[in-house]
Subunit: 245 residues, 2 copies
DNA sequence: TGTACACTCTTGTATATACAAGCTTGGTTG
DNA sequence: CAACCAAGCTTGTATATACAAGAGTGTACA
């Protein structure tokens, strides 16, 4: 075949060729032509359609995947990703409820559930003495099987002595804590970070990829109940907050 | 030349080869061996050192660049990026001061400065009637010449009638507004978004790449002064907030 | 009937090669 | 001395090719 449209060697007159392919795919998605879960043409198909090599078509698909627009899986194909879900910061809502509200299935993986010794930072946050015993849990929350939150939590054992005995596959820590110690106040800190090793592995993303990290200290009438670090993959979450000061 | 260490064709026994190169570079940076602005070995050099092709070495460098670890520029080389600067959400600080506090040079580009008609959304935010006249400005703020904030702002002309006459290359809108209408309150919303076309162009990043977007409505005793949308490239900014409720 | 195997399509990794284009350096020339 | 130009480095784009590995399909054989 084939037309051999213009120059064989590139030249990059103005924009690279893979950009045109990316733009085309984006347009199809934005116009609604290709809905979520739609199967995108294969690398070879795109290469043929746009008269470029497979590696060039591949680059377009790879970049869109990095940007969260597409999802790929070896042997199956490339698919339009779901739009990023939106979560709320202000209401300290249960992540399981958020997922359910989207009509998705909720799941979690309990990576750690133990008693530990408070570091200086944790002790200060919980209002305990350094070296005091605290409960430490690490849980990954799943939305349709896909990790969307890494939760590392330190809990005050004097206020919630039965924390370690809970079945967190049934009710999330947040749900349990708000039930046994109704919260009156919370400090929250938001930042954008690159995933470290442990987080990257747990969330099944590349080390260093962008995440939203939330630090939250929840307080009840009796004192500081819990100190949590919540990390969301940037690609799979969106976060809104109304702050007032 | 060459050793031809093992198999010519890949095999991908466990981890891809570019991962080893990425890990090596990360290790050098984390150990402090390669400080910010350090010039990383070239693609050809790495290819030789690790006994891979240039394209494989290139992949390692490209991915680390996407992740914000490195910076590349054609003709010059590849360099270790500065750690992402941290900004504050709570204190509504002047972006110029933030930049100066880091010892960097501040600059800006004024893309738009005009009178406009309030859309429904803007009218509601500013407490004006739909269709009322508002001042509209778009400014890009630069840190050492690199765009770090896209600021789109709607200002209430009844409270700040001389807004359009200001020289915003000398004092940022924020600085001017806090001087003429001391703020008493602010609503802020934070979310992670993919850059749209206009933002991507202004911030010199790829369309769709991750950004922190802040909506902020500032109020003074006399009423709502201004409604701003601030977009930071995720790679070049970090944001902290203490929320309380 | 049912299991195993081969075939085919997909994405993933890796290489060798070519040329484009940006920046620095050094030499040549006016 | 200054201006210009060529050489040599860098990264950026593009191709053709090869093999690896995951997933589905269908056929042949026990």
């Amino acid at each position: 075949m084939s037309s051999q449209i213009s120059s064989t060697t590139t030249g990059a007159s103005s924009q690279p060729r893979y950009a045109a392919i990316k733009a085309h795919i984006r347009a199809q998605i934005e116009s609604g032509e290709w809905p979520a879960h739609f199967r995108v043409p294969s690398e070879n198909q795109l290469a043929q359609d746009f008269n470029v090599s497979r590696m060039t078509a591949r680059r377009a698909l790879s970049e869109l995947t990095d940007e969260g627009v597409l999802m790929r899986s070896q042997g199956l194909g490339t698919f339009v990703a779901e739009p990023v879900p939106a979560g709320s910061l202000l209401e300290v809502r249960n992540i399981a409820d958020e997922v359910a509200a989207r009509g998705h299935s909720y799941g979690n993986r309990i990576l750690k559930l133990e008693q530990a010794i408070a570091s200086t930072e944790v002790a200060v946050a919980l209002g305990l003495a350094e070296g005091a015993a605290v409960y430490h849990s690490i849980i990954v929350h799943l939305d349709n099987g896909l990790p969307i939150q890494f939760e590392e939590r330190y809990t005050n054992p004097t206020l919630v002595p039965e924390y370690l005995q809970q079945d967190f596959s049934a009710a999330t820590p947040n749900e349990y804590l708000t039930r046994v110690a109704p919260l009156t106040e919370a400090d929250t800190t938001v930042e954008a970070i690159g995933a470290d090793g442990a987080v990257a592995e747990a969330l099944e993303i590349d080390k260093g990829s962008a995440c939203l990290q939330i630090w939250r200290r929840t307080m009840s009438r009796a004192g500081t109940v819990s100190f949590a670090r919540l990390v969301h993959p940037g690609n799979r979450y969106r976060l809104g907050a109304q702050l007032r000061f």
